[in-house]
Symmetry: D2
Subunit: 439 residues, 4 copies
């Protein structure tokens, strides 16, 4: 680069200024070079110009940009206008081949390099953020639910059958995904253990039979549900030789949860772990990362996707992880932990004041408080009107507690990654207003 | 608007200039108003500013933009940086609910309005571009293959079974999609009829049995394969009460093919028709439109999608269809027809010169010529090196002709929508170079 | 570049695809390389991506982008937000030094290279578009009027005095510019020659005296004023040894006018020629190009500008001239000539119908028609209301005809570069409506 | 707006969601409404979307956007491509009329509203940030130097003459500007007062004579020069009835300097005060704000500008001041004061260590330290190589100290607005390295 600049820009400005300009430019291009050399998440976050430059150069490698091409296929990434192209960061050919989503697409060398790099950075992320034994990762341009579907579908290569065993989580997406792929869900009911709702691993073991295709366990959900004991379930899976998929939807943000994942992989059988890109990596909604200890499972999942896909979730993940870098990500995790603590402290104060109590449930991201003297629906409605987004207020029989009837009404709040201290502060204050208002 | 401007901008510039500015502004805002009033594709294409303004206003309605919100959910569309948000046109909350992809998302009123409008415009497109009896449409943020999977999965509500009957098309995506949803494909082999490869409808009828879930027919593929006789197959489907899905991948561009679709719907049973957004509407890769004569099937397909989805394919379709408008689209169709004719004429000339012949196959988009005196692989390779993208050159036994052995080697070229006359011209000229070069 | 890509991207995708991606990328980067090698306007226009890439790389060379810098000056191009920076295409340091506008700015190597290149391309433009003997050009980030001021101010190095001789043009900007620099204007009145208003060169000669600083002649104005006989004036200037500046505001678009400029330079004395960037090169308003046969005058003009300047007009000119390229520019000139002809033909038709006549005035860009049976103010007003922008309708005594009293009222229309055939068509039709309406 | 949304978007999503979307949108549009109502700088800074929306709506009011216009003028803001237009934020018609820069331009109602608003916000800024008695302001699309030229040129309306009295400042731009407008500068030499270089007001008074057009005093320069005693000079100006212009280049950032300006206006005669937009308001280089206690002077300055101007500096100022808001600006000023203190403390430490001393000079922005044991050129060079930008290292006889010979070599550093604590820290550390290195 230095030589190119010296050669081509020579004489346009005095030599010493050109020298300085070259140094300044190189300081910014160096991270790009290092990215291609190391193929790992950078320590420091990138600037917007750097990210845009990378995307520009890569998108300029796709064949739809070839000024000399004669394009006579039925699909040549022709677009209605430059604005439309820009909405795809100019990756108009999308990613993947009809055979495999992660295969390089001959018409899109640039997008293919981009997506390969994304998968390398996704893999690096999962390893560095807590699960070094999950060595292989694939970003799917699909939400967590759909990605779980493809993952379990891939399990059918290993084991035929009809059922997926699923310790109860009151969330529709995984259930729908299992149905989509033509399987049925065997839900293992939750039970109370103090305030917490848990699913004892031995009930999972008991449910296994010849028709079991896989077990789908879960690490992140809102309280009173606690994370599944994925280590024990992994042991059971190994013992019974049953594929085991973990829905780790928003677990990457939490060092504790990643430790659980890691020890599950070490201690037993974990075929794949699925995590959301938006909930963990601050991207817009639309992608998930599937990780596995062995490469074959990634291959098989890649083969489940039928057709070429939108490049958007991959591009957005790339931009997000480069904008963050390792250091900022760890800083955000620190803040997440502080916010979680701050949330609990303040809920405790409010609880005391209003004769409620904070539920004693293990959950590194969210916190719940009883609502015994008020209608939870009204509490939820009031919070909504006060523009608190994301809390849940549920009655004892509502879908969400993962048991048929929970002893009390309650409400939850999250201190997830990216939440600002100010959000918690405001939410707490609005909660107080609400409790004063609502009778 | 006029009143707002008069009120707020008063006195900043002389009244008559303000009047003129208001008129100019209104001329550009009118199409936005009309869009919301009529909820149909505009006659005239929009300018970039108009499209951007629409996207801006809608994305500003999503709750992640609320400056007063306290956001304490686990998923609040927090993003790493404004650049990352921009990569999603600021629709960071994506589209849909975990229950149904087309349901309005409470956290994303703007994206929900956007997506509802997209579905209305998609519906308008299918109706105005040739199939007024397909009254209901849904854009899926998935490629054609995956969308066929979800569509057939929805058919299981109507009919249980194990098999999908599929007149042979040598394309992997639909096959993979059927496998993904846990079904098997019964391929009905193609046969020769003159130069053409066809699948006789009666063979489809014969294959139907109790285990048949649905028939998947196809309108667009490259020659020598001809489009399926979807009208006859529709009649058979009605007679046997079997769900019938048409893969109309790039058929919307062709008035002739849309006429076939229309008469199939009129004459028999067509449950759903699936078409690519990128191949028909000049968007980047990533979306498909599923259309149906009845609304229920759209509901059911909407319920197949597990989780919230990336807003990118919907946003890109919206921008593309607004940039085009009805008039430009019809103009592009005229050009497509002229290019198709021009392609055939010129292939005929070359064929004569090089002792080959153009295959007599009905195909409104593509054209094929025999390659009898040369190695088709070398021809393909030479074209590739000359930067002709999209042609296919196949030997008699290669996957692609939809029969086990086609009588001759051949090559195909497309004159698809959006192809410029210049592309065809250049491709023809490169083909001549190739035939001179390759022995 | 090829080597860099091969080295760094190796292994991310199959080698043959990487090869293709590299070829496609190089096809697009080649024009950048050629630009720096030749430092001339490209034959073919550039794509948006190419232009943006060039601007990005250059702006990344400015020291305000240096991630390692400690910036402790009073002016370090700190900006309020990335959006604000983007409004300057990230050239936040502007251009120039307080000493000379065209000197390289040590804090802004990238902007300095950009501006040097701009001046080379401006110089190339003037030479290739008709005046090869104006070898030196400088883009000033100022409109034509202000640029004329700086140019004449530089003339004071050559000749002291108080007056600028100016064949009458009814346009305020040059007059104000002369006043700004502390000089007075000696206007030489226009006179009739048939329909045309001209200023005889001998009257210019007569006006010269000891106090004359310079002559300011003009090539482009609207009819009935004809271009000054710059060749004769140039001869007079040489004879009397008086600096001669030509206001060639929108003359570059016209091959004929550029021929006049060229022969004036050849035949006599022309110190500098000033032309607008927006009127000739389709940029937003804000810049002018000063050209001279000798480099010294450019130096002196460069020294007149006090302070560092906004980079916007230079950046916009660069983008415009690269987007156009030589071929498109010549094509636009062809269209301008056709449109001018078409305008005259149609004004003739209307004139005949409404008992008016087209004025017999030499003007390669605009055309005028008498208005004898109507109030010109009403005609002007009606055209305005019909959204025809740019025509002028003047009464005999109005400022604009360059004589105190012109024999008739008239209206003018332009067929300037960039005007679409459709504009002329519509304007003609609205003019007819107007003449029907207005009595 | 609420009514419009309710009317047009009705039925696209459930009513309660539409309600919420409307509330969220309104929260963001409210600041736009308030801006037009109050025409003052907002308390809170705006988001990028808000700023972009404002610019979009305004630029859509310019006549070059009129889809129905027939444009037949010689200057119709035709541009080479949308990218080129975007480089001007779509204000392709620029600002102003050939008569007056601040007059509304009939072809550009949107840009005219924008520029009028800019001048109102500029006026608000000067008043709120410390000089409420400077009630009228005008943003010129010119650097401080050129703006001083236009300002003094306007003074000629009040007083004829040949000379501008200028207490010595070693900066070329104002001198060049005075020369440009055809006047001469009478420099009043600086003298030592302790470490400081000052110009005693009585020397200014003595220099006044019949030929004096104006006095140009200065508030901001780097040490050892101290700000002029503008209050005393204002008194002298009043007494002698001489126009008085203050060059307040980067003084708005400093509360102390603005107090001096304010009391000068109160106590004596100040015709106009000129300040840089980039140095005070974090915009890219290119604009200046001229402020005056009386509106007439602003009118006269507005009339000095010959021609229509680039809209870029106005647009950039608008975006910057809206992005900042009052609160952020005051916060930046707080930081500036802290940084200035921190800079002095640390220079003191270093000085002690290296047997130098910090000069005892009043300067609220910059600080200077002697360099007695080293070659100042080498110190400057070493700092440059260590990527410290902005410091100055001068020998006793160098241009810069505002006296012919200063007793000692010295170097200066600034803690200007927008400088980060980190910059000072790094600069200090690099200075230490430098002093260790250089002998």
């Amino acid at each position: 680069m230095r030589d190119l600049i010296k050669k081509y820009m020579k004489g346009l400005i005095p030599q010493n200024m050109l020298e300085r300009g070259t140094i300044v430019l190189e300081s910014q291009l160096d991270p790009l070079r290092i990215l291609f050399e190391q193929r790992k998440i950078p320590e420091e976050g990138w600037s917007d110009s750097q990210i845009r430059l990378l995307l520009t150069i890569l998108s300029m490698m796709d064949t739809d940009k070839d000024p000399q091409a004669a394009r006579v296929g039925e699909r040549e990434a022709r677009v209605a206008s430059p604005l439309v192209s820009g909405l795809a960061a100019d990756f108009c050919h999308g990613i993947g081949r009809s055979g495999e989503i992660y295969a390089a697409q001959p018409k899109a060398p640039g997008a293919s390099i981009m997506y390969t790099m994304v998968n390398k950075l996704a893999s690096d992320a999962i390893q560095r953020f807590g699960a070094p034994n999950l060595k292989h990762s694939l970003l799917l341009p699909l939400p967590t639910g759909m990605s779980i579907g493809l993952t379990i579908s891939a399990m059918r290569q290993k084991r035929k059958g009809k059922y997926v065993i699923h310790p109860r989580i009151d969330h529709k997406s995984p259930l729908k995904a299992i149905e989509l792929i033509g399987l049925e869900t065997r839900i293992i009911e939750g039970e109370l253990k103090g305030d917490a709702v848990i699913v004892p691993p031995e009930k999972v073991a008991e449910a296994i039979n010849k028709e079991t295709v896989a077990i789908l366990s879960t690490t992140t959900f809102f309280p009173p549900r606690e994370p599944d004991d994925v280590k024990e379930i992994a042991k059971i899976a190994r013992e019974h030789d049953i594929p085991h998929v973990i829905n780790n939807a928003y677990g990457v943000q939490s060092r504790e949860i990643m430790r659980k994942i890691r020890s599950a992989v070490d201690a037993g059988r974990v075929d794949a772990v699925v995590q959301s890109t938006d909930k963990n990596f601050l991207t817009p909604i639309g992608g998930a990362i599937v990780s596995a200890p062995e490469p074959e499972i990634i291959n098989e999942i890649s083969e489940q996707y039928a057709g070429r896909a939108t490049a958007a979730p991959a591009t957005q993940f790339l931009a997000a992880i480069l904008a963050l870098g390792i250091k900022n990500y760890e800083k955000l995790r620190d803040e997440q932990e502080q916010n979680r603590k701050y949330l609990e402290e303040n809920l405790n104060k409010i609880a005391e004041e209003y004769e409620e109590r904070v539920l004693q449930v293990y959950n590194p991201i969210a916190c719940a408080m009883t609502i015994t003297n008020r209608d939870p629906k009204k509490v939820g409605g009031a919070l909504y009107n006060l523009r608190v987004t994301g809390p849940r207020a549920l009655g004892p029989a509502d879908y969400g507690s993962c048991v048929d009837k929970y002893p009390t009404a309650y409400m939850t709040m999250n201190a997830a990654i990216g939440t600002r201290h100010e959000d918690i502060e405001k939410a707490i204050q609005k909660l107080e207003e609400t409790l004063k208002q609502v009778r």
